[in-house]
């Protein structure tokens, strides 16, 4: 570097003062040293750019192809598991009621479907847990616990069938078995599924922060080393012009232009990769994660509504838990469920609420997102209206009427709400996929382009200095 910043028009004068430092006496030696310096600068640019591109690639891999999709997979697993327990509760509530036999069969059919979905997802544990040993152990423990759950559920259903009770809370023996089953599900299995989702969210957040800042920092280094390369090439050009009275060395000129273009393109690429990581994370992933969690919590709250009817001994707890979950989904400062229903009606048209839907409402970035969110909120409001009606009938003492209210409009409304929620989640999922795909696309070929460009630059540099060297042979 010292050679470029102090071109040697007067080397003889300084020779005495810099003893001990390398001095190149012959002209061919100086030319070779300049060529080596230029080639070295090319290699430095190559190295810095390659490392930065690798950071971008790692970020895309973890966010787009590893932890990101696992959030969706674990979210679906939670839904399947939670819905198994909800369907079981509905089936036990209906009992031997002849008028509702069709509904019971339907609930059991959905139960079977969710069971096979959950088992399928768990058997492919590696898809959920990756290579992390703690997470793999969690997936294995869930599979074991699910086996125990299914056994308890089977016993509860059998005892329920034998009791032939009317619609409403089943006999104590059935409730005791259901309590064991639902406790296993709620206290053991579901927390593990939910925590896996959160773990993957953590992985994405940390990867994003580390890799995006690495790409942004790397971009600065690419620009700086690229500038240095251009300065070296221009310096050699000027040196040759002064020494050999040639105006332009075409090969070196080409190398300079090539280096400049390469650096500009690299910096632009890295900028757009950082931007795509940001879009994937902030407009896609964050919402997918939040809405997956909202869906999980919504479904378990919906199941708590069934449990509230099924198990009067625990009704107080189930009601409190229902309010707590509702507040996590959409928070308005209400002290109790009645207050929540009315504040919800008041606020839901606007956006001054917190919780998962609050976050979503305050971050509208995608076309169609506002409309999709409005659908979700309308569906949520309907579900809460149904809940109010169900609890009103239940507290009046008519548990069968409460159940028919729930099975009448309640189930359909909840399914409609869930579909709207999935549609909103998928909207973000597509934005995520698009950002990841264009990120992948942008990086395609750079493993070849970078070394290729470096080789071409070095050849051009050598071709540029060769005629000058030959003058000394």
């Amino acid at each position: 570097m010292t050679i470029t910043t102090t071109p040697p028009p007067a080397p003889a004068r300084r020779e005495g003062r810099v003893t001990g430092r390398l001095r190149i006496r012959t002209m061919p030696g100086r030319i070779r040293a300049l060529a080596a310096l230029a080639a070295l600068a090319v290699l430095v640019v190559l190295l810095v750019t390659t490392l930065t591109v690798r950071n971008a690639r790692d970020g895309l891999r973890v966010i787009g192809h590893d932890a990101g999709p696992q959030v969706v997979a674990t979210g679906d697993l939670y839904f399947a598991l939670s819905d198994m327990d909800a369907q079981l509760a509905d089936a036990l509530l209906i009992g031997g009621d002849a008028g509702l036999a069709g509904r019971r069969a339907a609930a059991l059919k959905v139960y079977e479907q969710r069971r096979s979905e959950a088992n399928g997802a768990l058997l492919q544990g590696s898809r959920l847990a990756g290579t992390d040993p703690t997470e793999q152990r969690t997936a294995q423990e869930m599979l074991d616990a699910l086996g125990r759950y299914e056994r308890l559920a089977g016993q509860a259903l059998l005892t329920d069938e034998q009791s032939r009770h009317a619609a409403g809370p089943p006999p104590a023996a059935v409730t005791a078995l259901y309590r064991q089953a639902t406790d296993l599900m709620k206290l053991d299995i579901l927390p593990k599924a939910y925590n896996l989702t959160l773990d993957n969210g953590t992985k994405v957040r940390r990867t994003y922060e580390a890799k995006r800042s690495a790409v942004l920092r790397g971009r600065v280094w690419v620009a700086l080393t690229g500038l240095l390369l251009v300065v070296v090439l221009v310096g050699v050009q000027i040196y040759f012009a002064a020494r050999f009275r040639r105006l332009v060395n075409p090969f070196l000129a080409l190398a300079t232009v090539g280096a400049f273009v390469l650096v500009v393109v690299s910096v632009a690429l890295l900028s757009s990769e950082a931007g795509r990581l940001r879009t994937a994370k902030e407009d896609g992933f964050d919402s997918v994660l939040a809405l997956s969690r909202a869906r999980a919590i919504s479904n378990s709250a919906h199941a708590d509504e069934s449990r509230y009817l099924l198990d009067p001994g625990r009704a107080d707890t189930y009601e409190q838990v229902y309010l707590d979950k509702s507040e996590a989904i959409l928070y308005v400062p209400a002290g109790n469920l009645d207050g929540y229903y009315s504040l919800l009606d008041e606020k839901i048209g606007g956006s001054d609420f917190l919780g998962f839907y609050g976050t979503e409402a305050h971050h509208i970035t995608l076309p169609g997102q506002q409309a999709a969110l409005r659908k979700v909120l309308a569906g949520y409001q309907k579900v809460q209206h149904d809940d109010r009606a169900i609890r009103l009938v239940a507290t009046s003492g008519d548990r069968r009427a409460a159940l028919t209210t729930k099975l009448g409009g309640g189930t359909g409304d909840f399914d409609a709400y869930d579909q709207a929620l999935v549609a909103l989640k998928d909207l973000h999922g597509r934005a995520f996929d698009r950002a990841i795909a264009s990120g992948d696309h942008g990086l395609r070929g750079w493993n070849v382009i970078l070394p290729g460009a470096a080789i071409v630059l070095i050849i051009l540099i050598l071709a540029g200095v060769r005629p000058r060297l030959s003058e000394y042979r």
Binding site: T134, R137, L187, D188, L190, P191, K192, Y194, N195, L198, G201, T202, R205, R206, D286, L289, A290, R293, R314, D316, T317, Q320, V321, L323, D324, E327, A328, Y331, V332, P333, G335, N336, L337, D338, L343, E346, D352, F353, L354, G355, H362
Partner: protein, 271 residues
């Protein structure tokens, strides 16, 4: 309505201010040698300071274990009443709070919660001779101890709309004295706290055993400490996986006859 709207706006502002701090001034609990932990000093079994000034209890042991897994080597415990917890975190007086601190959506607008590390259930404690109180609804018309900053009394009078007469006190220890002295008729708070009281006072009090809520005990952290929250969650997961949690629960509540859960709870999530 207008007031509520302003209230939410202020809450949002505070929440976003909290987020803003995240990148800068907030000292995360991760990667620190020394941590200051806010705890209770008057809850036998959970957080209790004995006559020699040593802190003991399930919360204390959880705080020690979590801090060790975070890599901290030196811990200072700082006694906090229920009403002081958010303020102590927000002002930076303490780095974390482990003090039967229920996660609620309202509190989440003020502080970050890792965990829960345990899900307790609200129950009722009455004098030993009292037999008429069988569930929360039987508290109608009775004098109920109201601890400032605690959510427990609200669950009775607001969530369940039960018309109990609230008698204020600053700590649950004070409630217990008031109960035995006949100044209040019932204490309603988490089973873990009440079980500790019952074990301490024998026949003088009776644990009703009619749970009516899930109380998710979180580790309170400063607003914006997302990284710390994620690390605390990992520590709690490990605490359950290697059997430490089961051991601690047995040590502190094994003799109370409470049916404790020894599997990792569903976390609240840090974001």
């Amino acid at each position: 309505m207008r007031l509520r709207r302003i209230g939410i706006a202020v809450t949002l502002l505070l929440a976003s201010a909290g987020c803003g701090v995240a990148g800068g001034a907030t000292a995360s609990v991760s990667g620190r040698d020394h941590l200051v932990v806010g705890v209770a000093q008057d809850q036998p079994g959970l957080g209790f300071r004995d006559s020699s000034g040593t802190y003991k209890g399930f919360d204390i042991d959880v705080a020690r274990d979590v801090a060790r897994r975070l890599g901290a080597t030196h811990l200072t415990f700082k006694p906090l009443t229920s009403g002081q917890r958010e303020g102590a975190l927000r002002s930076g007086d303490v780095d974390m709070v482990v003090s039967s601190y229920s996660i609620t959506q309202e509190r989440k607008t003020q502080v970050v919660f890792a965990g829960p590390y345990y899900v307790a259930h609200q129950d009722i404690l009455v004098r030993g001779a009292e037999t008429a109180v069988r569930n929360v609804r039987d508290l109608r018309g009775r004098r109920l101890c109201q601890v400032t900053g605690s959510v427990s009394w609200r669950r009775v009078t607001e969530e369940h709309k039960i018309d109990a007469r609230l008698v204020p006190a600053s700590t649950y220890g004070e409630c217990l004295d008031d109960l035995i002295a006949g100044k209040v008729d019932a204490i309603s708070t988490d089973d873990l706290i009440l079980a500790g009281f019952a074990a301490q006072r024998g026949n003088q009090v009776r644990f009703v055993n009619a749970p009516f809520s899930d109380e998710r005990y979180g580790v309170g952290l400063r607003p914006g400490d997302i990284r710390g929250c994620e690390d605390v969650n990992k520590a709690i997961t490990e605490m359950y996986q290697d059997g430490t949690a089961a051991k601690l629960l047995k040590r502190w509540f094994g003799s109370t006859g409470l049916n404790v859960t020894t599997t990792v709870p569903q976390f609240e999530g840090c974001g």
